[in-house]
């Protein structure tokens, strides 16, 4: 949320573009807060759309979960499973790919720019 600016406001968003899979309840709460403050939500990239590669740990057999991994899972609020964005909140559009497909992103962006009357339909 603060990658580019220290001072941000989450209120009254037209479109929220969200990347990343959901690894914990605190992340789930954050995207629910964004959903509540945005008219539309677009999932960006494979992590948000498919959960991969973070969902790898959902398939770990118990033998693969060593002491170090168990320490992290128990020491912080890791969710039982990693989830895709649309498993946690309603998603209006998806831009797939890793990295995201640029033409698909531009098409989606233009759709919303037209929808909100910022650019006219070409």
């Amino acid at each position: 949320m603060t990658t580019l600016k220290a001072n941000n406001s989450l209120c009254g968003l037209d479109v929220a573009f969200i990347e990343g899979a959901i690894s914990s309840e605190s992340q789930a709460e954050e995207v629910r807060r964004i959903r509540d403050n945005a008219q539309y939500v677009v999932a960006i990239g494979a992590c948000a759309c498919t959960g991969k590669p973070s969902t790898s740990r959902n398939q770990f057999a118990s033998a693969q979960i060593n002491e170090r991994i168990r320490w992290y899972l128990s020491h912080f609020d890791y969710g039982k499973e990693v989830k895709t964005l649309d498993e946690v909140i309603r998603v209006d559009d998806m831009v797939r790919g890793c990295p995201m497909k640029v033409p698909s992103f531009l098409q989606t962006l233009n759709k919303y720019l037209e929808h909100f009357g910022i650019v006219e339909h070409a």
Binding site: M1, L4, K5, A6, Q27, S54, R57, Q64, I69, P99
Partner: protein, 433 residues
């Protein structure tokens, strides 16, 4: 001065999420925690049981910013384990693509994250629209610098992020040499802009000086990010394959990232552009040495803010190195070097933009990953960052809270930490009691 807690929940303008919590009692910092708050994805576990040929491309997904670094370190670990020696052409093309990565990655950090501190604005979105304004000029310089870095990687490895052409043993596809003359012309044109950036970071008076050890790769033949032995400030020299034996793993109870100590020194250590400039500036390209001479006289330096200046100089180094390669490389039609699957262990140790990056692959006789390990620069810098911040807070406790918060964030930002890599890391909590 009253006791207090200072908390910065989310440190702004860095790659990913991290927090800082500081507890001040009786005018002394009692506790300071640099907290990496991104979640781990356990990549090293996820690759166990996979066939090696698919592993480097999967592991490039550790980071969108420096994916080329993870890709190359993984390729080199696998090749070493399989006894594969790549051709001189593959080495030259990897070096060229890596110059492109460094130019783009350093420019993103320096101009999008650090420049607002120098200009006294919150973000690049607040930089003046006046074409006569220096900030406006520098920001537009950065667009050209970033673009040429991206375009080099596009031309040489097929993309800037998660590049498709590099593979175990070489390249699936060779670049089109017809694209080279235009790249050379644009690199020559961008040099003046890179030099304006170097002057800007040299002119910034910010300072935090503390003794520490510096670790980096050194190839005695040239300034190199991909080949060499590890050296430290005492010129102790360690072959790549033995590097991990010198590291002591430190579990950080408050952080999703681990920390490391280097057993050859009593001190903490720093990796990244500042370490490289302190250890290897004698090896820079002659044109870089000539044109950045006044900035180079600032090194060796113990001022952590000079990591920014060192990155700016490295952009010029990569521009000059890329021009040489593009002008002299004659491409032959080569296929990737492959070998019969064999059991073995290999290490790929390279300089990522943020410092030493270690990949270790243990492979079984069927060419399947048995064990994998990744050690990233930000985890190695975690202890050094905390020690720098402790010194800063202890020496500046009389400053108002706004100054303390802003300076703490600038110090962290100077390291160019990457949480995606490290969680594979900042909120700030300042607590005065």
């Amino acid at each position: 001065m009253p006791d207090r807690n200072i908390v910065i929940d989310t440190i702004a303008k860095i790659e990913g999420n991290a927090a800082l919590k500081v507890v001040i009692e009786d005018d002394v910092v009692r506790d300071l925690q640099f907290i990496v708050s991104d979640y781990r994805r356990f990549f090293a576990t996820a690759v166990r049981g996979r066939r090696v040929v698919a592993v480097p491309s999967f592991l490039s997904r550790i980071c969108g910013t420096c994916s080329v670094a993870h890709l190359f370190a993984s390729l080199m670990a696998v090749e070493s384990a399989q006894g594969i020696t790549v051709t001189e052409q593959t080495k030259a093309l990897r070096r060229l693509a890596y110059d492109g990565l460094m130019i783009r990655d350093h420019a993103l950090h320096l101009y999008f994250f650090v420049l607002p501190d120098i200009l006294g604005v919150d973000s690049i979105l607040d930089v003046s629209d006046d074409p006569e304004d220096l900030g406006h000029t520098l920001l537009h310089d950065s667009f050209d610098i970033k673009r040429i870095g991206t375009d080099i990687t596009n031309a040489v490895i097929g993309a800037a992020i998660h590049a498709p052409w590099p593979t175990v043993g070489g390249f699936l596809r060779s670049p089109d040499p017809a694209t080279f003359p235009d790249l050379v012309a644009r690199l020559e044109a961008v040099r003046q802009k890179v030099l304006r950036g170097i002057d800007t970071f040299l002119g910034w008076g910010a300072s935090l000086v503390r003794n520490t050890d510096y670790l980096g790769l050194r190839n005695d033949r040239r300034f190199d990010f991909l080949e060499g032995d590890v050296v430290n400030s005492n010129r102790r020299r360690i072959p790549q394959s033995e590097f991990k034996n010198y590291l002591q793993y430190v579990q950080i109870p408050h952080s999703h990232a681990e920390g490391y100590r280097f057993s050859d020194t009593e001190e903490d250590y720093l990796v990244g552009a500042l370490a490289r400039m302190n250890l290897n500036r004698d090896l820079l390209h002659p044109r870089t040495k000539d044109d950045a001479a006044s900035s180079l006289s600032a090194f060796p330096s113990n001022n952590v803010y000079h990591n920014n200046l060192a990155q700016a100089i490295e952009i010029l180094q990569c521009v000059d190195d890329a021009i040489d390669i593009l002008r002299t490389l004659e491409l032959a039609d080569e296929k990737p070097v492959r070998a019969q699957a064999q059991a073995g262990t290999g290490v790929g140790l390279i300089e990522a933009p943020r410092g030493l990056l270690y990949h270790m692959a243990k492979i079984d006789e069927d060419g399947v990953i048995d064990a994998y390990d990744v050690i990233v620069p930000t985890a190695q810098n975690q202890i050094n960052i905390e020690n720098d911040l402790k010194d800063y807070f202890n020496e500046n406790l009389d400053e108002d809270e706004e100054t303390l918060r802003a300076d703490a964030e600038s110090i962290v930002r100077a390291y160019d930490p990457c949480m995606s890599c490290a969680t594979n890391f900042l909120k700030i909590d300042l607590i005065r009691k």
